[in-house]
């Protein structure tokens, strides 16, 4: 709440722009709102508001529509004696004192889920401690309409690399809806130029397509080789036939294209329609880890294993 704000501003929109130099993950050469832009837009009658963040424009980081369902609370009622201080910070929120509220508990969803995981971590259906190691996870776990699920099986340790079998499945409305799975490299969001990787980041210009659709080759200087980065597996069924396409996104935002004039990396491809599920299967050489713990996407400490750091995108239409 800006100092001196009395709740009577008649503006219909508020814009927040990124301050300071771009993060390594922001679009190349951006400044201010080009790097990150959060807009709160009231509708004409003031009963709903759209909250949109672009990072970096034109990639939408999140978009939420909020509707007023009860009477307006006064500014004083919202603040309720809590004069929260906002402090600039970047990086993973694990150690950020600014996310801890005055009563000692955090309202940060990330920290809440992390805390819950630390209390309740148990083997996922998956995590078989023996080889071949099989893992299974719901992607976007709260999206019960699509139940997007990723299963992967690693045959050996070390797997640096080895042939990993993957099955990606989504419940779709129509048989010919496509489902797609993209490999985007490792997690690096909100990390600043500071730290061990600063020199490499500055030399390479960072990871300027991190929040866009294309995938940079800059990952090798950070996490080592992962040829699958940037590849998209897409499948659908049409007139009773299954189709598989190996694709890539070459633009920051735009239509992906089929792989051409490059080696196809997805082998043994298969598309199946069972009930409302469309399932695509393939095998690919993957640098999955040196130890069996590295293979687990769901370790007690987030992002501490090779597989837990993999950024994976899914889509269907």
């Amino acid at each position: 709440m800006p100092a001196g704000y009395n709740g009577h501003d008649k503006s219909m929109a508020v814009d927040f722009c990124w301050r300071g130099p771009r993060l390594p993950t922001h679009k190349a050469d951006c400044t201010g709102c080009e790097c990150a832009h959060w807009k709160l837009q009231l509708d004409a009658d003031g009963n709903s508001m759209k909250s949109t963040m672009w990072q970096s424009f034109p990639a939408i980081h999140f978009e939420v529509e909020l509707t007023k369902t009860s009477t307006t609370v006064s500014t004083e009622g919202v603040v309720d004696g809590w004069q929260c201080e906002f402090q600039d910070s970047t990086g993973q929120p694990d150690n950020h004192n600014d996310l801890i509220h005055h009563h000692g508990s955090s309202n940060c969803p990330y920290l809440k889920f992390k805390s819950k995981r630390e209390r309740t971590k148990s083997p996922s259906p998956s995590s078989s401690p023996s080889l071949p190691a099989k893992f299974s996870l719901l992607m976007s776990a709260h999206d019960t309409d699509h139940k997007a699920q990723l299963d992967y099986t690693v045959p050996q340790i070390p797997c640096m690399p080895c042939n990993v079998s993957l099955a990606f499945s989504v419940m779709t409305d129509e048989e010919d809806d496509y489902i797609a799975l993209g490999f985007r490299g490792g997690v690096y969001s909100y990390t600043d130029w500071k730290g061990d990787m600063a020199s490499e980041n500055r030399t390479s210009g960072g990871l300027p397509d991190y929040f866009g659709m294309s995938t940079s080759s800059g990952w090798e200087s950070i996490y080592g080789p992962q040829p699958l980065n940037g590849r998209i597996a897409l499948g659908f069924v049409n007139n009773g036939n299954g189709f598989f396409r190996e694709m890539e996104a070459t633009n920051y935002v735009g239509e992906p294209s089929d792989i051409q004039d490059k080696e196809l990396l997805l082998k043994g491809t298969d598309v199946e329609r069972v009930g409302d599920w469309t399932i695509i299967r393939f095998t690919s050489e993957l640098f999955a880890g040196d130890t069996i713990e590295d293979l687990d996407w769901n370790p007690r400490d987030p992002f501490s294993t090779t597989m837990s750091r993999q950024r994976v995108m899914w889509a269907n239409q």
Binding site: P125, D176, P302
Partner: protein, 60 residues
């Protein structure tokens, strides 16, 4: 091994979609969660139900 598609399916538009598009590191707390069953077990159950069974489709 993947090939270019043919037939009507090649007209499928692939692009930048909003509502059903999601990305996260696999280990992001609260976003990805353990699945209840392997997809292979779900398939076995679906195929065991004759009323729901549809032809097996494969493309290699």
């Amino acid at each position: 091994m993947g090939k270019s598609v043919n037939g009507d399916g090649s007209e499928a538009t692939v692009g930048y979609h909003g509502p059903n598009r999601a990305i996260s590191p696999l280990g992001f707390p609260g976003f990805n969660e353990p699945a209840h069953k392997y997809i292979d077990d779900i398939v076995k159950e679906e195929k065991g139900d004759a009323a729901k069974t549809k032809p097996y489709l494969s493309y290699n």
